[in-house]
């Protein structure tokens, strides 16, 4: 009986140890694989490490889209701060002036080098983060 109990306790600790290991591995992976989301103002005020991938969300400023070969540059704004964004590739169909955009990439010396550009299915889309900030600003 005692032997049985000892074995059960042992099993319990093995399971506990393994699940703790698993969960900590998952959490560790989570933290290194997160993409933090910034608005232009937040991005400039935050200290972002070089080579740290982030997401930048805002509105594409009217008249700022410039094409050169396959390269595209435009300005993302949150109506307070503006950040120039550089991207090499085909922009999505819903990418246009005066509409919401999310760019995934790297911050470097005042500008943003995008690896991917997202524009959502809905043509009236605006990043929800920006919408809530609009509400705060009473816009």
């Amino acid at each position: 009986m005692l032997q049985n109990r000892k074995k059960r306790l042992q099993n319990f600790f093995i399971v506990l140890f393994l699940s703790a290991l698993g969960i900590s591995l998952i959490l560790f992976s989570l933290n290194s694989k997160l993409d933090l989301f910034y608005s232009p103002s937040e991005m400039l005020s935050a200290e972002i490490k070089l080579g740290y991938r982030i997401k930048l969300g805002g509105m594409v400023k009217a008249g700022s889209i410039k094409y050169e070969g396959t390269k595209v540059s435009f300005i993302v704004t949150d109506f307070q701060t503006e950040v120039p964004v550089f991207f090499d590739g085909i922009t999505p169909d819903l990418f246009k002036e005066d509409s919401g955009v999310v760019a995934l990439g790297y911050y470097s010396a005042g500008s943003f080098i995008a690896e991917e550009i997202f524009a959502k299915h809905d043509e009236n889309y605006m990043p929800p983060e920006l919408m809530s900030e609009d509400k705060i600003n009473g816009r």
Binding site: G22, I26, S29, L30, K33, L34, D35, L36, F37, Y38, K55, Y67, G69, T70, D88, G89, I90, T91, D93, L94, L104, K120, H121, E123, P128, E129
Partner: protein, 632 residues
């Protein structure tokens, strides 16, 4: 008028279902009064038919362009072909919820009527199903009424369906996916009925085995179709984006896969009983969680419907209630379910349970990936997103472990341990051949990526072990489980082709004028912009580019399009794909620049066809398992 009749029929159905519940809960006679059961079943059937009738009328409304119905006016258009007028019904929240309920009803009525009236679990199953249908029907009628009129005057013209949804694959993707999602309501209700009933020796597995398999097939086809659609329609060249809504479909799929496996073990050797019951409950709970994520607007995704807190609250409350009831009764019965047998180390079921645990780990990791940004934002106010890198890192060790266990279990026997000698002789050739193949691949490809190679190796382990087993069984003329063979080879092929795709595929963006020719690389030596045409279609206009490509010495003609839809002013791209067994040449047209030149994005995607094929193999394997019993 027809709209009001359809609306009234749904309400009548909800009332009938309420009647069934009240009749059975408050006026429960003893079990010998089977008249009560017969009457309840009749009422239940009538309620189901009322829903079907109501949906039939709704299809009629959509086809006849009744734009006084607000939902139809917002999502359909008189210029649409009839096929898309019907599919427009499930292009947004209200209508797709209606379809969800219709399928829920369909599965329920089929299952309840397949049970004989003497079946001890018939009453409980029917009541649980009644409760679930009623809950969702009320959700539809209260928070998202598809019958709402625009008063006093209807719209003259509809606002049109979202153009990216005007596509045959997408038209049938939601129905198949819903059929899969909802199909697990059968195993869920049956299991809760079994737990309420209390006779724990009842062999419940046999009655729902085939139903769960069929639901799994629908879920698999639904997910694959969605992925296929995303690949050729969105023009990003990807087939899986680890989008929250894709993830919430993958969770029930993993749970269902684990459930199917442990159902085998449970019915074969009477072990893993509690575990199987738990999984059966979890599949439907995860489906409900998915419905909540998609329909509450809590997560921002390409799939999510408009934001409405009331809907989210109702769904959360109702799903929570169902979860609480089912897990509550499960916990109540748990002490009485001690299974007498222990799992023998090294037996087939021991490896099967290991993989069950791994699948649960995968579900948990996805769940964390979906909810972590929400948790972090509500506590810290930090906005984050979790993308493919997280899932790739988590999944590759899980996939490797799973594959190793699958490989060993191929040679293992039910309820019997395995000797180290047998293990060695069974596993060594597979290890050797897989490692050799991996080196060959590395030699030819000359690209290294740890995650991708883990995936390739996992795929090879599964495929090679099953082929070796099949070969030896054929030689000895012994029995081979063909369904399992086909399905597992499909899984191995999936791991293999997904990983190969990730290392071999590449993308090139080009910019050129009409008539220009470019050199891209040794493989794509000529890229010629032949012609540009403007074409008018009934509800959109098309800019069509004609491109010829000299790919590996063979000329290919590709015609990518850009479409502008009149009703919404929305622009979409139609990808041109030239497919060979090994790779797809995938071309999308970009924008015209100020100087008149055009941009194109050329992608060479390897092994994409194989991904769809492997999913077809898995479905085929399960189909063989279902029909094997019928034939023999």
């Amino acid at each position: 008028m027809v709209g009001e009749i359809a609306h009234f029929l749904s309400i009548a159905s909800a009332l009938t279902l309420t009647l069934v519940l009240i009749f059975n809960i408050f006026f429960s006679f003893s079990d010998s009064h089977s008249n009560q059961l017969i009457l309840s079943c009749k009422l239940f059937n009538h309620a189901c038919f009322l829903i079907f009738l109501s949906f039939g009328l709704y299809i009629y409304l959509a086809v006849t362009d009744d734009f006084s119905i607000s939902y139809i006016a917002n999502h359909s258009n008189s210029q649409l072909p009839i096929f898309y007028k019907i599919t427009a019904i499930w292009s947004a929240h209200e209508g797709s919820m209606f379809l969800w309920i219709v399928f829920l009803t369909l599965w329920s009525i089929l299952f309840v009527n397949s049970l004989s009236s003497k079946h001890p679990l018939k009453k409980g199953t029917m009541l649980m199903l009644t409760f679930i249908i009623l809950g969702f029907l009320l959700f539809l009628l209260i928070t998202s009424n598809p019958f709402e009129r625009i008063l006093p005057f209807g719209a003259l013209e509809g606002a049109d369906i979202n153009p990216v949804l005007q596509d045959p694959a997408l038209a049938i993707h939601p129905p198949l996916l819903y059929l899969g999602y909802v199909g697990f309501v059968i195993s869920f209700s049956f299991i809760t009925a079994y737990l309420f009933y209390g006779d724990l020796h009842y062999p419940w597995e046999q009655d729902i085995k085939d139903w769960s398999f069929v639901a799994w097939i629908f879920l698999t086809i639904g997910i694959t179709l969605g992925s296929w659609w995303a690949y050729y329609e969105l023009g990003w060249g990807g087939y899986w984006f680890w989008d929250p809504v894709e993830n919430v479909a993958l969770m029930p799929w993993l749970a269902a896969t684990a459930f199917m496996h442990s159902l085998f073990a449970s019915s074969k050797s009477n072990i893993l009983k509690t575990w199987t019951l738990f999984l059966g409950i979890m599949i439907f709970v995860l489906s409900l969680f998915g419905a909540f994520i998609v329909r509450s607007g809590i997560i921002d995704s390409v799939h999510s419907f408009a934001n409405d807190p009331q809907r989210g609250l109702y769904l959360l409350g109702f799903s929570g209630l169902i979860t609480l009831i089912s897990l509550g009764i499960f916990a109540y019965r748990l002490p009485g379910m001690q299974s007498s047998k222990l799992i023998v180390t090294g037996s087939k079921e021991s490896f099967l349970s290991m993989n069950n645990i791994l699948m649960l780990t995968a579900i948990f990791s996805i769940f964390l990936g979906v909810t972590y940004p929400l948790i972090l934002e509500s506590f810290n106010g930090v906005k984050v997103s979790i993308g493919p890198p997280y899932y790739n890192t988590i999944f590759s060790p899980l996939i490797l472990l799973t594959s190793i266990f699958i490989m060993i279990s191929v040679e293992a026997l039910w309820q019997r341990g395995m000797q180290v000698r047998t293990l060695f002789f069974a596993v060594a050739p597979t290890f050797l051949l897989s490692t050799l193949s991996l080196f060959l691949i590395w030699y030819f490809v000359q690209i290294f990526s740890l995650l991708a190679y883990v995936g390739i190796y996992s795929g090879l382990l599964i495929i090679i072990s099953y082929f070796l087993k099949a070969a030896s069984n054929l030689k000895n003329n012994s029995y081979l489980n063909k369904g399992s063979f086909v399905a597992h080879v499909g899984l191995g092929l999936l791991f293999f082709s997904v990983s190969m795709n990730s290392i071999l595929s590449y993308q090139k963006n080009v910019n050129l004028f009409l008539g220009d020719q470019l050199f891209i690389n040794e493989s794509v030596s000529e890229f010629t912009f032949l012609d540009l045409q403007n074409i008018k279609a009934p509800n959109h206009e098309i800019v069509l580019a004609k491109i010829s490509i000299l790919h590996d010495g063979k000329p290919i003609y590709l015609n990518p399009e850009k479409r502008k839809y009149f009703a919404r002013g929305q622009i979409t791209s139609e990808t041109a794909i030239h497919a060979t067994p090994l790779k797809d040449t995938y071309l999308t047209i970009g924008d015209q620049l100020e100087n008149g030149s055009w941009t194109f994005s050329l992608q060479i995607n390897y092994f994409v066809k194989w991904i769809w094929f492997s999913s077809a193999l898995m479905v085929a394997g399960i189909l063989m398992t279902i029909f094997k019993k019928k034939i023999l």
